[in-house]
C-alpha cells in the first residue's frame, strides 16, 4: 500500500524512516555497515535485499529523498554521513572502521571527507541493493555489471504513475481555460459550445498526455531521435493520426489541425520533461534540446489556440 502510494506520488514526500542505526539478522562487531537514505522505498529495498545476511544498516537523514536524487541535491553528503555515524555511536557498535555506501551516493558524498570527518573509510558498493549480497560475498571483486545503471521496461513503467499524478494540478487550470476558449464564437460566448468543444479540447489533451507521458517512457529506446521533445512529437503525431477517424466527424479541417497541434505540443513537452526521470540525460543536453524544442512547442500551442478560437467564425 505504502509503496503504491509513494510510487503514485500521493505520499512520496513524507514516506520516510527515522535516521539511525538498524540491524538485519543478528549482526556483531565485525558485520558490514551498509549506508542508505531515509526514503522508505530506499530503506525497504536495502533491508529486503540483504535479509539473508547479518548487517548493520545506517540510515542517513536525506530529508526523505532517495539515494541518487539526495546525492545530486547535496543532502546525501559526507557531512550527513559523519553526523549519523556520530549520533548513532557507531564506533561503540563495530570494531572495524569501514562503511559501504551505495555507488549512486557518490555524486554527493566525497569518500575522503567521510574519512577525515569521522574516521571511517568508504567503499562504494553496487548500484542496486539486490546485488549487495553477491558483492559482499566476493568482497567487491568482479563487480563491473553491478556498477552500471540500467533503464529497463519495468524501470520505465514504474515512473508513469507519478508523471501522471504530477499533471493533476496543471490540468485543473487547463480545464477552465479550455471551457473559456471553446465557448467563444459568433454569438459572443456559448455555454453549450464551451462544454461540447471544451470536451474535444480536453480529449486532445488526454491524447497528448498518453503520447508524451505514457508512450514515450514505454517506447523510449525504440523511438527515433536522440532529443526527447522530438520523440514526443513522433508519438503525438502517431496517436493523433490513429485517433482521427474516431473524433474527426463533424469537425472542420481548421479545428482538426488545431486539436492535433495542441496534442502534439503537449506530448512533446511531457516527453521533454521525462528527461528528468531518466538515468542517462545530462543537464547540458537537456538545456540544449530545450532551446530547440520549447520554441516549437510554444509556436504550436499559439497556432492551436488561434485556430481553435477562429474556427467557429469560419463556418
Amino acid at each position: 500500500m505504502g509503496t503504491a502510494g509513494a510510487r503514485l506520488g500521493v505520499i512520496r514526500r513524507r514516506y520516510r524512516v527515522a535516521p539511525g542505526l538498524y540491524a538485519v539478522g543478528s549482526p556483531g562487531p565485525d558485520s558490514p555497515v551498509l549506508v542508505t537514505a531515509n526514503y522508505k522505498l530506499s530503506f525497504d529495498s536495502l533491508r529486503f535485499s540483504v535479509s539473508g545476511i547479518d548487517a548493520w544498516l545506517l540510515v542517513t537523514d536525506t530529508r526523505g529523498i532517495n539515494v541518487w536524487c539526495a546525492a545530486g541535491k547535496g543532502t546525501f553528503s559526507a557531512g550527513e554521513v559523519c553526523d549519523i555515524v556520530r549520533r548513532s555511536r557507531l564506533v561503540e557498535v563495530v570494531s572495524h572502521r569501514q562503511l559501504v555506501l551505495p555507488q549512486l551516493a557518490a555524486p554527493g558524498v566525497t569518500a575522503r571527507k567521510v574519512t577525515r570527518g569521522c574516521g571511517f573509510s568508504v567503499r562504494f558498493g553496487p548500484v542496486r541493493a539486490t546485488d549487495l549480497p553477491a558483492w559482499l560475498e566476493r568482497d567487491g571483486q568482479g563487480d563491473e555489471a553491478m556498477r552500471e545503471v540500467t533503464f529497463t521496461l519495468a524501470e520505465r513503467a514504474v515512473l508513469i504513475p507519478v508523471e501522471l499524478y504530477l499533471l493533476a494540478r496543471p490540468l485543473v487550470g487547463l480545464v477552465v481555460l479550455a471551457l473559456f476558449l471553446s465557448g467563444i464564437g459568433p454569438g459572443f460566448f456559448s455555454p453549450a459550445a464551451a462544454v461540447q468543444r471544451g470536451a474535444l479540447l480536453l480529449g486532445a489533451t488526454g491524447l497528448g498526455i498518453l503520447a508524451g507521458a505514457v508512450l514515450v517512457p514505454l517506447l523510449l529506446p525504440w523511438l527515433p531521435a536522440r532529443q526527447f521533445w522530438l520523440k514526443g512529437v513522433y508519438t503525438g503525431l502517431a496517436v493523433t493520426a490513429l485517433a482521427r477517424p474516431l473524433v474527426a466527424a463533424g469537425l472542420s479541417i481548421v479545428e482538426q489541425v488545431g486539436l492535433a497541434l495542441w496534442a502534439v505540443a503537449v506530448s512533446s513537452y511531457l516527453a521533454m520533461n521525462f528527461t528528468g526521470s531518466t538515468p542517462f540525460t545530462s543537464l547540458s543536453g537537456v538545456e540544449r534540446e530545450m532551446r530547440r524544442g520549447l520554441p516549437v512547442q510554444l509556436h504550436a500551442v499559439g497556432a492551436a489556440a488561434v485556430l481553435w478560437v477562429i474556427a467557429p467564425f469560419l463556418v
Binding site: K73, P107, A111, S282, E287
Partner: protein
C-alpha cells in the same frame, strides 16, 4: 548502458590526465562506465555517455576531473529561466 545514447559533444566533462594519480575511484563510481585505467593512465572511453552526475569529479583526490553537475529536469530548467527573466532568485532544482 546499452540501447541509450543522448546528445553528442554536449557533456561538460573535462579530464586532465597530467593531474591524475591513478587511484581509480572515478572508474568505480561512474554509473555509465566511461573511465578506464590503463596502468596508471586514465582513459575516457566514451565522453558522450556522461550524464553529468558529478560522482567522478567529487571523489577525484587530485582535481583531474571537472564536470558541471546537475539534474536534467526540464521543468526545473524552465522554472530557472522564468525566474531569471523576472529577475527573481532561481528556485532549487526538483528531482
Amino acid at each position: 548502458m546499452r540501447g541509450y545514447r543522448y546528445l553528442e559533444h554536449t557533456a561538460t566533462l573535462r579530464v586532465d590526465p597530467q593531474r591524475c594519480v591513478g587511484c581509480g575511484l572515478c572508474v568505480s563510481v561512474c554509473p555509465h562506465r566511461l573511465f578506464a585505467l590503463e596502468g596508471r593512465a586514465l582513459r575516457v572511453l566514451d565522453p558522450d555517455l556522461c550524464m553529468e552526475c558529478g560522482a567522478c569529479a567529487r571523489n577525484c583526490p587530485s582535481g583531474a576531473i571537472a564536470v558541471t553537475p546537475g539534474v536534467g529536469c526540464a521543468a526545473a530548467i524552465l522554472a530557472g529561466w522564468v525566474s531569471r527573466l523576472l529577475g527573481r532568485k532561481a528556485p532549487t532544482r526538483c528531482c
